[in-house]
Symmetry: C2
Subunit: 247 residues, 2 copies
DNA sequence: TACTACATCTCGCAT
DNA sequence: ATGCGAGGTGTAGTA
């Protein structure tokens, strides 16, 4: 044990009440109960507690936290016979997390100030905007009428018609389209057929790639696939490739 | 600035080459390019680098990392005129992340040892197991034949028949069933009808709750809804309700 | 609040 | 490697 329990409790409580962000390395067991039940046997982890009482437990490998508690949870610490108990409870979500800390290797806390939002380009919304602004990507006769239609019609990415006034529904995916993408499109097409009382509705799936099964189902339903790359994808990679190619 | 750049670089490089887990608080800007493009303006964050070179950037609030890089990325650090540049590249995923560190508040690193896996109960698999072992939850005539049945159009949670040898397909959801759950079930039912050459196939959606639109679509397709709570759900909460927080 | 669909989704499993 | 679906999914947007 590198950090003494008494000293740790002191620091922890002070940081917690000051809404500092806390991180520490420790040797611990973890129990969770809520939407499911879980237990993580003894091992070394890094714990993060944020100013909004979000709690994250990370193992030394992997992307995702192995355990976590949502913001606005209550956090308490108490000393037991031979370990520290850190408890987090979220009564709203009915979530309970207990960390049995058997040793603390290192502790750190600081009041972090950050009000910034991430500026992100390349989402599915950007892709449907691109198609709306460049309808020839779908077909030379495609006339878009609306995008991101959030009505009882369904949430249709791009909605329009061709030069024969036949309706066209476009569903965008920024990754390989699978079976569920086809059923999603199918649901919209059927809803529009029902609402507009017409059978002349074409479904178009716009994606960089489509799986073989999805392609088969798409064709079974007389829908169309249009290979379209989402905007802003791999921009730097493509630039790098170009630069390398110049040498 | 609490930690000097030169000292930080030294510590950082040592920890990185020793595959220690690193966390530090800093004032920084972040750029990402890969599957999308993002920029996060200047602010305070906690950075975590794991032994497998996973990199996480967390703001002082919220559950999810605001930026991240997957395991097995290359990480480098270099000193610029008035900032530190931490670069992470993943050529396999074509991902690029740059952190422009303008100040370091606190730094910590340690070699964490952990080979444990999470033991989790209450997943959808547990729910389909429960139904398989207790078929009367679906109906008194239900005879399950298989679980996790793989078909070309997806895999079926519980598959069986009633006492008239009519096929029954059960799709389990551990949360509120929505439209997409109904289309998923519908896809399986249609595929089984085609494969078995029969029209007598019943789809059953087993979930604790179902949305109104999903319920309507379900009934339109002559499927059945069965209210079933997933196992282990809120075990501690329910116990607490009984024992008034004895735990 | 409930419902819907996206996500730099991630992850595991099976082909 | 790819396809498919679950996730203690989380998160945003809308009615």
């Amino acid at each position: 044990m590198v950090v003494g329990f008494d000293h740790f409790i002191e620091e922890f409580k002070t940081a917690l009440s000051a809404n500092q962000t806390i991180t520490f390395f420790c040797h611990c067991k973890i129990r969770y109960s809520g939407r499911a039940e879980s237990f993580l046997p003894i091992g070394d982890r890094v714990i993060i507690i944020k100013s909004d009482n979000t709690l994250l437990v990370h193992q030394p490998d992997g992307n995702n936290p192995i355990n976590y508690m949502k913001p606005q949870s209550q956090i308490t610490i108490s000393k037991k016979e031979d370990y520290l108990l850190i408890s987090s409870r979220n009564l709203q979500h009915k979530d309970y997390l207990d960390i049995e800390v058997q040793g603390v290797y290192s502790f750190m806390s600081y009041k972090l100030e950050d009000g910034q939002k991430l500026l992100l380009e390349g989402s599915e919304k950007d892709m449907s905007d691109m198609i709306y602004d460049n309808p020839e990507l779908i077909s030379k006769n495609f006339k878009p009428l609306s995008r991101e239609e959030h009505t009882k019609y369904g949430f249709i990415d791009v909605f329009g018609h061709n030069d024969k006034n036949e309706l066209i529904i476009v569903e965008c995916k920024r990754y390989t389209a699978s079976l569920s993408c086809v059923t999603q499109l199918r649901r919209y097409v059927e809803k529009i057929k029902e609402l507009k009382g017409t059978k002349k509705v074409t479904g178009v799936l716009a994606a960089p790639k489509i799986s073989p099964n999805a392609k088969k189902m798409l064709l079974d339903w007389k829908f169309k696939y249009k290979k379209i790359n989402p905007p802003k994808r791999l921009e730097r990679y493509n630039k790098d490739q170009k630069t390398l190619g110049e040498y």
